[in-house]
């Protein structure tokens, strides 16, 4: 009997049968937990599954009851229709232009401001910091009318510039805040060495500090890009013609190939949502740590 031999050799080890039962008991104990985990995953994932499923389902199957949970004749037709829709393509391009410009501008302004706020002591420094922080919870709607008049007055209405300009209000404060936190966390030695070598503050900024806060720039840039990419209220209010719409506005005004008022082209709309969603899913999964670091820098200190 090996069990006996084992116990004889190593008296503390329990008999095999008992060990197994303990293991299975632990497994059974974990069942409710695993079930809960499964429910959470299904809850989060199902709407995405449904969008994918609908995007690949041909219209004839899509508008039929009872509903099929998996397309029996999967097709790329909806993707083809969405991508040949000039308004949707234009929307994607406009969103990319606006979000890209907003990100670059916010990082440029924000890193300079972050350097000043994170490194130098001056009067009004904490006032400036608090102003930035309180603006991260600023209701955009509160200045809609004034921005609308301002944009009209300077003839930016229905241009992408209007969006780049107005998005600063939602992006810049958080960018400044995050970059200030990152600047503060850097050791002073390198800067001091550079100053001793006769560098000016501006030289120190872009030759020493900027490379060091590269991770901060990625984090802040990501958050800025996502915020600009998601925006809807200003995009809806400050642009008028489809050639200036961003993708969020374009996706709400889909009329489809036929342009029929009776049947909303859901297959095409779902294909469009998948096209917009997939890059975001990949981006979030890949850079999850960076995003969370930025969000908690914004939230925990609040």
């Amino acid at each position: 009997m090996t069990a006996v031999a084992e116990t004889a050799a190593r008296p503390r080890v329990q008999p095999r049968a008992q060990r197994l039962s303990r293991r299975s008991r632990r497994l059974i104990k974990r069942v409710p937990f695993l079930l809960l985990l499964l429910i959470i995953i299904v809850y989060i994932g199902f709407p995405f599954y449904w969008a994918f499923r609908s995007a690949f389902t041909p219209d004839a199957e899509l508008f039929k009851t009872p509903v099929q949970y998996f397309p029996s004749h999967p097709t790329w037709a909806n993707f083809h229709d969405a991508l040949t829709d000039s308004n949707f393509r234009r929307g994607l391009l406009n969103s990319a232009i606006v979000a890209g410009a907003v990100t670059l501008l916010a990082l440029g302004l924000g890193s300079l401001a972050g350097y000043a706020l994170g490194r130098f002591r001056f009067r009004g420094r904490s006032a400036a910091l608090y102003m930035m922080l309180s603006m991260t919870i600023f209701p955009q709607i509160a200045i809609l009318g004034a921005l609308y008049t301002l944009i009209n007055r300077v003839h930016l209405y229905n241009t992408l510039w209007a969006l780049v300009f107005s998005y600063m209000v939602l992006v810049l404060p958080l960018t400044v805040w995050i970059l200030t936190t990152f600047m503060r966390a850097l050791p002073r030695d390198l800067e001091e060495a550079a100053y001793i070598d006769g560098a000016t503050p501006l030289q120190v900024f872009y030759k020493v500090m900027l490379p060091l806060i590269a991770p901060g720039l990625v984090t802040a840039g990501l958050l800025a890009f996502i915020a600009a990419w998601q925006e809807f209220l200003y995009a809806l209010s400050f642009t008028e013609t489809p050639d200036k719409h961003t993708v969020t506005v374009a996706i709400t005004t889909f009329t489809g190939k036929t342009g029929s008022a009776f049947q909303v082209p859901w297959g095409e709309i779902m294909a469009a949502t998948v096209i917009v969603t997939v890059p975001l899913i990949v981006l979030t999964l890949a850079l999850q740590r960076r995003i969370l670091a930025g969000l908690t820098a914004g939230a925990v200190k609040g």
Binding site: F33, L37, Y43, P47, F48, W50, A51, F63, T65, V67, A113, A116, L117, M132, I137, F138, P139, Q140, I141, A142, I143, L144, G145, A146, L147, Y148, T149, L150, N152, S166, M168, V169, L172, V176, P201, L202, F205, I226, Q230, F232, L233, T248, I251, T252, W266, I269, M270, T273, V276, T277, L280, I281, T284, L285, I291, L292, L295, T296, A299, G302
Partner: protein, 278 residues
Amino acid sequence: MLGPALVVVALVALYPLGETVYQSFTDKSFLGLGGTHWIGLENYTNLVHDSIFRKSIVTTVKFTAITVGFEFVLGLVIALVVNSNFRGRGVMRAVMLVPWAIPTVISAQMWKWMYDDVFGVFNDLGRRLHLLHHSVAWISQPNTSLGAVCAVDIWKTTPFVALLLLAGLQVIPKDLYEAADVDGASKLQQFWRITMPLLRPAILVALIFRTLDALRVFDVFYVFFGNRVDTQTMAVYDQNTIVTVGNVGYGAAVSVAIFLIIAIFVVIYVTFIKVEEQ
């Protein structure tokens, strides 16, 4: 160095804020042929008697109470589940961030299709499981429309609330639970006596952020209902007044009112925190 950022902030936020307050005392309009006149408090007296605006306040506050409540409770459950040790926890955390990254307009469209009164998956599931005898027009029926719109926000934001709470859970020292185990405290006691008190700061941050966010909700309501009067939020009503109707002066008064209503909530939270601290 701070200069450029401050100039932009002043131009894009502080100046418009002042301008909004000024406009709220005028009859500025984009339709108007005549100029803009100072009309004193007229916009505000009209606002007090504006039943549509009052209705929009009720809708917004209801939406806020329902969504923040559900997001907190569900978010806490999810945070506790994900906080325990299991393989794939990192993946799970990443997955939870995905709904947050999707534009609200997109998730609203995804759900709008699931709610479809003929071909929607909810009606189909309901019929298959014999919960429904006939199809429900979830979005257009007055008794289900608010619930339908809340469900979208809850779906999108609960995982994010869970992540905020998870960050709070992870800084609670493990040895507290070990000590409690030694003392023979049950899991439930540990939850109420250790987890909840130490999680309080994270809970407050999550609640404040979510409340302020919910009070200015626009996207999901606009996609679901457009400007339908019985299901407007404050922000939808304001946007409609300013941009569609072109009544900038009155819209500015609505903006100021929204700003004040949100400020009231901030004051409530801040006093609550101060009372707690004493």
